[in-house]
Symmetry: C2
Subunit: 163 residues, 2 copies
């Protein structure tokens, strides 16, 4: 049995006691979260989110690339979110390599250099600020009054604001 | 008080009882989930995931674009995941508009046409298959033995596999 099959058994249990079938499409709290994909970072637990509350956008690093700008534009323009919460975290995998090394390693193995930047970084707080600035500079996201960035500490469970 | 401030108060409560400070960086279940950002789709609840279990990648639609391929390459190559679970869902916002209309509307308002495709779709199952195929066709993701796609039913809580 694969891990996927094991998780599908969990999904059957979730459906068996499901009672949230009438929630509306727009997020109740009008918030979009952009966070790293890291397994230890659970936005629902940390922020106390429940089904229906917020859009959750995640990728390697919690960085803001074209796809996050697309998702945020859709989130605000079509589904009425107005606040953005960015979350990076300590002990992030993105701190352990450089873009050049990662892409050159793939090129050596596969024979093709990836067309994307890996988005690795060396300074957590600086990359949170970089992500905030990418949102502030984007012409397609209409509401930028509340774009706040944070570092989640995987060692302590604490969320620290980056200013 | 903004909603962000309200969620930060939740984060303080999460940290106060935090007991997961020793979890390793690589996901324990070696799984990466790619799901829609929709507020009603909670991958932790549905799949029974806990902190430390799996990478969770999310965007508008749960579609696979360059940034998801980047995240999956990092997930597999640097952090050892080997199974991929894709989740779209019923009543998705991406079913309610067309790329052309969304991008033309922004162009009329802002004066600039977005450089990205909005990735709207008209057929849920077909778009799940499209996302699976984009992963299967990617040269930088090494492990493709278990790439399975699903539709989550927001009305019933059920997860249905797309074949």
């Amino acid at each position: 049995m694969s891990v996927t099959d094991e998780l599908l058994a969990n999904a059957e249990r979730y459906a068996a006691t499901f009672d949230k079938g009438a929630l509306p499409l727009p997020p109740a709290k009008h918030v979009a979260v952009v966070a790293c994909m890291d397994a230890r970072l659970n936005p629902y637990g940390i922020l106390g989110l429940s089904e229906g509350d917020a859009h959750v956008i995640r990728n390697a690093g919690g960085v803001v690339t074209a796809d996050e700008l697309r998702s945020l534009a859709i989130s605000q323009r079509l589904l009425g979110t107005t606040e953005i919460i960015l979350i990076h975290h300590t002990d992030c995998g993105m701190l352990t390599f450089t873009d050049d090394d990662f892409r050159s390693g793939i090129e050596r193995e596969v024979g093709i250099r990836p067309p994307w930047a890996a988005e690795a970084f060396t300074d957590l707080d600086a990359d949170v600020r970089q992500s905030v600035r990418r949102i502030q500079a984007d012409p397609f996201i209409p509401v930028k009054d509340s774009v706040r960035g944070f570092v989640y500490e995987v060692e302590t469970g604490k969320l620290r604001e980056v200013r």
